[in-house]
Amino acid sequence: MEDKNLTQNESLEIISRMIKETRNNMERGGGNIFLLWGYICLIVSLAVYCLLSNTGDYRFNWLWFAIPVIGYPGMIYMLKKREKGAITIASRVISNIWIVLGIVAGLLSIYMFVDYKAYPIMFVMSLLINSGVAISGLVIRFRPIVVAGFLGILLSFGMLMVAGINQILIFALLAVIMLIIPGHILNNASRKVKAENNA
């Protein structure tokens, strides 16, 4: 691109082309973080369910901490690996939302050590994470994620209707609905945009 003067039409063409470039930036690699958290939640919840139902030993609940222990380093690694040439306003907003939700989720888990009957933890966590998914979807204006988030919010209330360790199965189902399916859809959309740009 040269430093030459422009006609009015050329100006408009440059503005629209460059703004389109930044829009494509938004979805790139976003699905992988959904998939990371989704598969960790699914595997851990199924493992906890199997161990609790077979042994009845509630110490296996400690395994829930595997989610943040594996998830956070994995996410940091992925974010570092991702192209960091530009930060969109939407990606900054989404990062901040998840930082706040992550802190709240951590505090809610820690308070369980003080009083494990204080609140239905599975319900509260699901509601929190699904709200984050719905807000993220609204920020990037990506309908499958908005739908997944709100569907997840509705399904979270199912946990109040199910007793005991069966709540864990709903949590596993939610991991598929709120994180794994939207993650794959987001990556597919991202691949399509990339293919269109290369065409």
């Binding site: 691109m1 040269e2 430093d3 030459k4 003067n5 422009l6 009015q8 039409n9 050329e10 100006s11 408009l12 440059i14 503005i15 082309r17 460059m18 703004i19 470039e21 930044t22 829009r23 930036n25 192209e83 960091k84 040439g85 530009a86 930060i87 969109t88 306003i89 990606s91 900054r92």
Partner: protein
């Protein structure tokens, strides 16, 4: 061209009415920040030319340029300022008078 039409045209900001500077501002308007490599790739410009144009935008206070490091590699990050945002909006308004 009728005289009335000529008078209704607003002057286009000469700093923005250039291919590369307009491209940089159009990228930065919808981003929180972008680094030098990203801007060079998206605009398809040479490093030397981009550097000169960024200096011009920076001198006009349309953008902020932070020179730092990412690990051991030098990294230049650019952000649009409020002055730059206002100038860009005025440029668009002026452009409308030519097209509308």
């Amino acid at each position: 061209m009728p005289k009335d039409n000529v008078n209704s045209f607003r002057e286009l900001d000469p700093l923005l009415h250039s291919q590369l500077r307009l491209a940089v501002m159009s990228l930065l308007i919808s981003l929180e920040e972008a680094d030098f490599v990203y801007l060079r790739e998206k605009t398809g410009s040479t490093a030397g030319n981009l550097s000169v144009q960024l200096d011009k935008l920076s001198q006009a206070k349309y953008i902020e340029v932070d020179k730092g490091y990412s690990g051991k590699k030098p990294r230049t990050v650019c952000r649009i300022t409020d002055t730059g945002r206002k100038a860009f909006e005025e440029y668009l308004e002026a452009l409308k008078t030519y097209i509308g």
